[in-house]
């Protein structure tokens, strides 16, 4: 029983790190994704091309590889050492997820009928006003489902940070596995399940709250 309690506390600590990476990534990648979405829809062709190329590279390579590149890259290229592991992991996650989010945003924005924008224009609204007052909520309504998918994936992707030895829940379990205890590894699933369950409820609530918008 005491082992169980001890392991639970250890895993909980590892899960704290998991949550930390999750929330920081989410807080930064959500707005950054919107910026990238605008970049990929920019009227200036060079901007659009560059942004789309970045999205292609980021979505086209494994996240694990990106974490490694961000962490080891600076020291290999510039000879700078002492880069914070967790910071590197978060940078990689934010860039990666912002690119995925940007495509979801883009789809959401482009699926709002052009007549909505025209109605705003005819009423003398500025582009910014049209985006925030007319398009935004309609976009949100459309992207809740794909976003929830992506965000739930993020929860589990956080386990990748252990490639640069950031200690999160799976790594904690692996450590105890090396000491001969296998069950903590399976036990980690419970933490993920509970967390994702909570998120699922949250998304369901959001969908319910947005039901008043009929498109």
């Amino acid at each position: 029983m005491t082992t169980f309690l001890k392991i639970t506390l250890e895993l909980l600590e590892g899960f704290g790190k998991t949550c930390e990476i999750f929330f920081v990534t989410l807080a930064l990648a959500l707005p950054l994704g919107l910026v990238i979405a605008f970049g990929s829809m920019c009227r200036l062709r060079p901007v659009r091309a560059v942004v789309r190329a970045i999205v292609w590279v980021v979505r086209g390579t494994p996240l694990m590889l990106q974490i490694i590149v961000v962490f080891y890259g600076p020291s290999l290229i510039f000879g700078v050492y002492g880069f914070d592991r967790e910071l590197a992991a978060i940078v990689a996650f934010v860039i990666n997820y912002a690119c995925y989010f940007s495509e979801i945003y883009r789809g959401g924005i482009q699926s709002v009928p052009v007549g909505q924008r025209e109605a705003g224009q005819v009423l003398g609204m500025s582009k910014t006003q049209i985006f925030f007052r007319v398009t935004f909520m309609q976009m949100i309504k459309r992207i809740v489902a794909p976003m929830s998918n992506e965000i739930i994936t993020l929860v589990k992707d956080t386990s990748l940070v252990r490639v640069i030895s950031v200690v999160e829940i799976i790594m904690v379990a692996e450590t105890s596995m090396r000491k001969g205890l296998i069950w903590p590894l399976f036990y980690t699933g419970v933490f993920y399940l509970l967390f994702v369950g909570l998120l699922t409820l949250l998304f369901r609530y959001a969908e319910k709250k947005l039901e008043y918008i009929k498109i």
């Binding site: 025209e118 003398g124 009929k214």
Partner: protein, 283 residues
Amino acid sequence: MEYYHVEGFRKRFSETEVLKGIGFDLPKGKIMAIIGASGSGKTTLLRCLNFLEKPDEGKIYIDGALLFDAKARYSERELREKRLRSGLVFQSFNLFPHYRALKNISLAPELLARRHIRAYRKEQLEASRGEPFFARRKQVRRRTRAYAKELKETNRERAESLLAEVGLADKRDSYPHELSGGQQQRIAIARALALSPDVLCFDEPTSALDPELTAEVLGVIRRLKGQTMIIVTHEMSFAREVADYVLFMADGVVEEAGTPEEIFLHPKSEKTKAFLKCREENS
């Protein structure tokens, strides 16, 4: 030159020239109906008049003053100012689905009011120059807030009276999807009126409606006395009844223009005759 004067509108989409030099005059408070077959450029003309489409050539004068010249370059902001002079009611309503009826109407005026509020604040700051810093800020903030509240109240009252005008006072808190097509279009008309445009344009306002809903929308338009209006329509009987002028478009030009009697009873052009005959047979 009459109150609303349009001249020389040309618009080309890659290979096809949709407008080939359109011009007309409309006195203040009068109603003009634009009729013509599909593809004759009616909708494109309306879109150009509301700057949703950039014409290649053309000028608009309102009350003798040049409002728009296709040859000039206007900034985004200038164009926005110009758009406020005219209104457009769409065929497909295009109400904002996430706002209630009242908010649909009051949104644009509220956003415009922000500018007045900023100007007012600046004015107040200027006027109170020399007074102690914190006291001055506090006072200006209080006055600006009161002013903003007052404007908001005015806007809301105006939106409510417009709702009443289109006969939907009881639907102020309904979302667009809870309303019938006819009701939605009436809200859209109120929304366009809220900015008091000099000219209100309608792009086939009843085409998306069932026949039994058409009447209520036409009834609302009929009651807008004194508003200068341009109505693109397929409803010949309506055009005949409410319009002061009728303009028949064919292949991007004004084929014939005149009073309803002239156009409907004594058409001169062969194309007009053929179009009206075809319409009669269909109805």
